[in-house]
Amino acid sequence: MSAHPILAVEGLEKRFAVGGGFLRRASQVHAVVGASFTVAERSSLGLVGESGCGKSTLARCLLRLVEPDAGSILFEGEDVRRMDGPALRVVRRRMQIVFQDPYASLNPRRTVLQTLAEPLRVHGLARGTEIEERVAAAIAEVGLPADSARRFPHEFSGGQRQRIGIARALVLAPRFIVADEPVSALDVSVQAQVLQLLEGLRERHGLSVLFVSHDLGVVRHVCDRVAVMYLGRIVEEAPVPEIFDDPLHPYTQMLRAASPVPDPKSRFALPRVVGELPSAMEPPAGCAFHPRCPAAMPRCSRECPTLSPVGTGRRVACFLHSPAP
């Protein structure tokens, strides 16, 4: 794996105003707090966490589908956040997204051909019969039947629709793909097909991937490195086998322990998980995880640990693993 990053994110922030309106001040949700990470060329980074942890917002910030409030996003050395309209259009050929819900991510009134041809036309990348050829190639590549081009999304199953969504992301020949929970809406048997497809494409095209998921099993299978988010912050980042076999952050440990494994021998370890996710509008002071943390120290409720390197190639935001103050 080359160490040269295709994407380098530094201090990314996103706040949302929630509620509010006439005579009432909006509360703020700090959806992403100072996120910094890199994705190496031809590698795949997993972003995991529970619902509401900000992983999906972070992913969409990278493509500026959501406008970040602060920080920098260096994609192939250029800052995406500073790009104006035309430059952004150009960079969008090279960064693409695959969505979770295969039913919502396709326009129900456009045929597969129309859906796949539109990006080529808009970017002026092909014309005439060349468009049809490239669309046919994309259809074949994602493993859809050859007669799919003239059909509408509702004629396909969920798994097939997800293949169309992947074909649409690939048709502009991007270098980097954000996959936002791409298999969580699919049945188990179909999920494996789509994961296999994504793996194959990644290898053939030398793609780099940010893979957002709540399913640790899926992430273990498809990712090289994983970043774990809790209430808007990345709390741990590490290479794949290590983060699951030897999680350092107590939250990663809890998440790992709570993730079901198809083996009844692990059952009596039904983990005793403490508490629930606090409201993102009023996150706890100090380390946001301390109210649920079995190893919480007095310090944890006052200060927030920063994400610091531990060992080789790992980072964790926890006082248990940071040098003594």
């Binding site: 509620g19 006439f22 005579l23 009432r24």
Partner: protein, 313 residues
């Protein structure tokens, strides 16, 4: 709850301002000269100038607007050009009749419409449902004045059960009721058709909800499920939609009042139109706009009372 009330009432203020502004603009888009429209082509130049001054049309538009708003703020809706009485006095003289009529219609509509809608929803796609649907569609297809004329023909002219001209003696409650019956029945049936329709579709939606299945799974019996779980939730949209329907209801009562020659806002408006009573018309518009905005606020508050989710948002 208190905070919710306060917020909702405060929200009515800008809406009210917007509505008043709309009335003002509408009253000023008259092509040509309102004075000319009012007095006709034969009017002398002096008379026209005098009327313009009286209407304040000679002043700058911004000042007219401010005067208009300040007047409303003081509760002054202007004076009738024809009678010289204040718009308030004109309205207050007849409004009890209109209120009586619309209230009766709402009562008829809700009392008949809600059970009918529930019944149709529970027996959906069966014969009673189809009949109910046809009835409500037919009811919605009658312009209020056509049904009023038909009722008049049948029950007042042919059968002579009710008076042809509905001008009740004020101090005789029985006579009042007799004069109210046909007009109220007329709008009430249209209202029933509407409430039935809305209740049915809202009830159908609610019956498909997960929590209705949960209630069934508790084994509390179909009746309890219907009345305790489904109807309460189904009534939330019904309340809003009925609130929105108030506008149509007022329009219907105006037409009905005209057909039955019954005193009320309808006849007041018609008179103002026929006599080109420009200021009375504008005052009536302000009155209606204000009334509608407040009625909307009231509907929303009712909504908040039935639906806790709105309150705590």
């Amino acid at each position: 709850m208190g905070e919710f009330l306060l917020r909702r009432v405060a929200l009515a203020v800008p809406t009210l301002l917007l509505a008043m502004t709309a009335v003002f603009v509408l009253a000023r888009v008259v092509p040509g000269d309102p004075a000319l429209v009012i007095l006709g082509d034969q009017a002398s130049l002096e008379a026209l100038a005098a009327l313009r001054e009286r209407l304040g049309l000679d002043r700058p538009i911004l000042q007219q607007y401010l005067d208009f708003l300040l007047g409303i703020l003081r509760g002054d809706l202007g004076r009738s050009l024809v009678t010289g009485k204040s718009v308030w006095a004109e309205v207050l003289a007849v409004i009890p009749y209109t209120i009586e009529l619309t209230l009766a219609a709402i009562v008829i509509g809700v009392v008949l419409g809600v059970p009918l809608g529930v019944y149709a929803a529970v027996h959906r796609n069966a014969l009673p449902d189809t009949l109910t649907r046809l009835f409500s569609l037919a009811g919605l297809s009658f312009p209020a004045f056509v049904s009023a004329i038909l009722l008049l023909l049948a029950f007042a002219i042919e059968l002579r059960w009710f008076p042809v001209i509905s001008a009740p003696k004020v101090d005789d409650p029985l006579d009042r009721l007799r004069h109210l019956a046909l007009p109220a029945f007329n709008i009430g049936l249209i209202m029933t058709a509407y409430v039935t329709r809305v209740t049915r579709s809202s009830m159908l939606n609610v019956l498909g909800e997960d929590y209705v299945r949960t209630a069934r799974a508790k084994g509390i019996g179909m009746r309890a499920v219907l009345w305790r779980h489904a109807l309460r939730n189904a009534l939330i949209p019904v309340a809003t939609v009925v609130g929105l329907y108030l506008g149509t209801l007022i329009g219907n009562s105006v037409l009905t009042e005209i057909v039955f020659n019954r005193p009320g806002l309808g006849k007041l408006i018609l008179g103002a139109l026929n006599q080109r009573d420009y200021t009375l018309l504008q005052g009536l518009m302000v009155f209606f706009a204000g009334f509608i905005v407040l009625a909307n606020a009231a509907t929303d508050i009712a909504y908040g009372i039935i639906d806790p989710r709105v309150r705590y948002k």
